[in-house]
């Protein structure tokens, strides 16, 4: 039994939606699953390389009232964001958010107002994920659900400015269960930065479930940045459904948390969809970062391109399990996957498992994984310009990370990540 870690959590029945019947029901069901299901362990194939003992040894509690004021939050807000949706310890904060006008075709908000504005869709998505995921952490999320971050974009609605979904953790030893629901209507386009940060938060567990749905020909650029305190734990499940000709561009950046695990499943359920999947993890100390991704080419003429990079220092560990699955209907699919790991120390570790599973003809698929140290010839190039070896090393590590960051397309996010990576690498030069 490893289930003491969440026994200290309480179900907040004072929340307004607590009395909504169907919600009550799914929470109770989820609660039963949490009791019945075994916690993931190294014996499970899906968890072979990521040991959660550190989580199971803790005693988490529910978050109390936070004491943040806008000044604390302001510096974390993406400068160019048009709207911002802020959650503190898993609860929607109206005070810190900037939301669109009602009836503008853009709904952004927490569960309470979503239940008023889009009740059927909320109900459908919470029920379907709940049923589909016979999964301990997803069930834990539903069981202790306090709120949902909702973005609902009506058809043919395009936002120029990005939306910032900021999740702030302020507590110590708390467990919060953020829920995310994005529905991008047919022909609509939007950019969202989904970010997890700690402001005072320590040794906390953030356990996220996300459901993302792109309507026909929708375009969604989704940036996920996890930079919680290095004592924290971050577990995330997301499923993404792509309708015909839609285009999903995902980029995940991880620099925080002691253990972070992300499961992303992208299903191309319509013809001619596009999925870009980029990622970077920068790990130090004893950090562990595990990405499990599955891209399912379920219909003809889908393309996917995945590039995931990690930098591993000290005694850190990176895990990548990337599956590309082309179903028998996925004719004329094209998939490319690459995983590049830069291992800086001999005590660091990488477990990588790229997988291709193809059941259709006429497909173009390529994958590859590399684990390597800095290239001698590249070091030599910098040294011949008079740059000392240790500095050359820092510059090249920075460059490895920069390749992902500089292409993000959100200027102030680029600047802040660039500064973070500069600090981590000690490189004296940048862009």
């Amino acid at each position: 039994m490893h289930k003491e870690f969440f026994q200290g959590l309480s179900n907040d029945n004072t929340l307004e939606f607590s009395q909504t019947e169907w919600l009550k029901l799914i929470r109770e069901e989820a609660n039963q699953r949490v009791i019945d299901l075994p916690v993931p362990s190294a014996k499970d194939e899906q968890w072979r390389f990521t040991d959660l003992k550190k989580i199971y040894q803790k005693q988490f509690r529910s978050a109390g009232k936070h004491t943040l004021n806008y000044k604390d939050v302001e510096k974390s807000i993406l400068l160019e964001s048009g709207y911002q949706l802020v959650f503190v310890d898993g609860l929607f904060s109206k005070q810190f958010s900037r939301l669109p006008e009602p009836n503008s075709g853009v709904f952004l908000g927490g569960l309470q107002s979503a239940l008023v504005n889009h009740p059927e869709e909320i109900q459908a998505t919470l029920i379907s994920t709940n049923n589909e995921k016979n999964n301990f952490f997803a069930s834990l999320n539903t069981s202790y659900l306090r709120d949902v971050a909702v973005l609902h974009l009506a058809p043919d609605t395009s936002l120029e400015k990005p939306i910032h979904l900021l999740n702030i953790s302020t507590g110590e030893n708390t467990c919060v269960n953020p829920r995310v629901f994005f529905k991008i209507g047919a022909g609509s386009s939007v950019k969202v930065l989904e970010e997890y940060v700690s402001i005072g938060g320590k040794e906390s567990l953030t356990n996220i479930v996300s459901d993302i749905y792109l309507g026909q020909s929708a375009k969604f650029s989704h940036y996920r940045v996890q930079r919680e305190d290095v004592s924290s734990f971050n577990i995330a499940h997301s499923s993404v459904d792509l309708q015909k000709n839609s285009n999903y561009q995902f980029c995940t950046i991880s620099t925080g948390a002691s253990i972070s695990r992300q499961d992303v499943e992208v299903v191309q359920s319509g013809e001619g969809t596009t999925c870009g999947f980029e990622g970077l993890a920068f790990l130090q100390g004893r950090q562990v970062c595990d990405l499990h991704s599955k891209i399912i080419h379920g219909k003809p003429q889908g393309t996917s391109k995945q590039v995931y990079k990690t930098i591993i220092g000290d005694r850190a560990k990176a895990v990548f399990n990337g599956q590309i699955f082309v179903s028998s209907e996925g004719h004329l699919s094209s998939a490319a996957q690459s995983n590049k790991n830069l291992l800086l120390t001999k005590n660091g570790r990488v477990d990588t498992k790229p997988q291709l599973e193809i059941y259709a003809d006429d497909v173009k698929c390529a994958h590859g994984a590399t684990v390597g140290q800095l290239n001698d010839d590249e070091m030599f190039y910098l040294q011949t310009r008079g740059i000392p070896k240790d500095v050359a090393r820092k510059i090249l590590i920075y460059g490895f990370a920069a390749e992902v960051i500089e292409n993000l397309g959100l200027e102030s996010l680029i600047v802040s990540l660039r500064n973070e990576i500069l600090k981590l690498t000690g490189s004296p030069v940048s862009l």
Partner: protein, 257 residues
């Protein structure tokens, strides 16, 4: 010939032999280069030309098993590549490395200032350095948007080679070894790069051009042409030797030796 051939050689390579992974690449190679000279080293693939360039610049993978390299009177064999660079040895790469996320201008300034401080001279701040750079850009006919791009990132072959020459112009080395600077260049790019090299050549520095083809030597006039084969210089001549090679290939020399 521009130099008087008086005084000491800038670099003297004496009976040099090197190995990589137990394989001998250079064998008993001897060459002296004086200030003001341009030497071309030609030879078929696998003759050891590029190895020679890397060994001069101090590549750590090559082990010198015999002989020595004296540069400006000092033994450089024990010096790291960065120390050699600060002494004034520059290598232009056949395949310059791309460094994403680092602008050309900040990279150049770092290299320049590292050398300045090693010489005990003042470093330049970004504004002073920009002035210094603008002169070099003008001289080499390079547009200044080059500076804001990441080092060699997405550069064409020709741009990469021009960038090598720009780095050379900024660092003002005493000895530049240009490894296959002409490879992959079209005629226009070749002309621009060659003009750059010609502008940088003076009576105090020396250039070693490593090349496969004679066509580079239509643009840069060498004082000496050496032919390498199996890790050694097997023939030395002047420009005419290069023309002969162009007409007859390498075989006749290899037969001779």
């Amino acid at each position: 010939m521009r130099n008087t051939n008086g005084g000491n050689p800038l670099v003297h390579i004496d009976g040099l032999a090197t190995e990589i992974e137990g394989r001998e690449i250079l064998k008993d190679l001897t060459l002296s280069v004086f200030p003001g000279e341009i030497h071309a080293i030609m030879g078929p693939n696998g003759s050891g030309k590029s190895t020679f360039a890397k060994v001069l610049a101090g590549h750590p993978s090559y082990e010198v098993t015999k002989g020595g390299i004296t540069f400006s009177g000092i033994d450089v064999l024990d010096l790291s590549p960065e120390e050699r660079a600060r002494e004034g040895i520059f290598m232009g790469f056949q395949y310059p490395v791309e460094i994403p996320g680092v602008t050309n201008s900040s990279f150049l300034r770092l290299a320049f200032n590292t050398a300045q401080s090693a010489r005990g001279e003042d470093e330049l701040d970004p504004i002073e350095f920009d002035d210094y750079l603008q002169d070099k850009l003008k001289m080499l006919e390079i547009s200044s948007d080059f500076l804001d791009r990441s080092v060699n990132g997405g550069f064409s072959g020709g741009e990469k080679k021009r960038n090598e020459i720009l780095q050379m112009a900024v660092l003002e080395p005493k000895l530049a070894i240009l490894d296959e600077t002409d490879s992959g260049l079209d005629i226009d790019a070749l002309r621009v790069v060659s003009q750059g090299v010609n502008k940088l050549a003076n009576n105090d520095n020396a250039i070693i051009l490593i090349t496969h083809y004679q066509r580079l030597l239509n643009y840069i006039k060498p004082d000496f042409v050496h032919v390498m084969h199996e890790g050694n210089i097997v023939k030395t001549g002047n420009e005419k030797l290069a023309q002969e090679l162009e007409e007859k290939g390498y075989d006749w020399i290899l037969d001779e030796t």
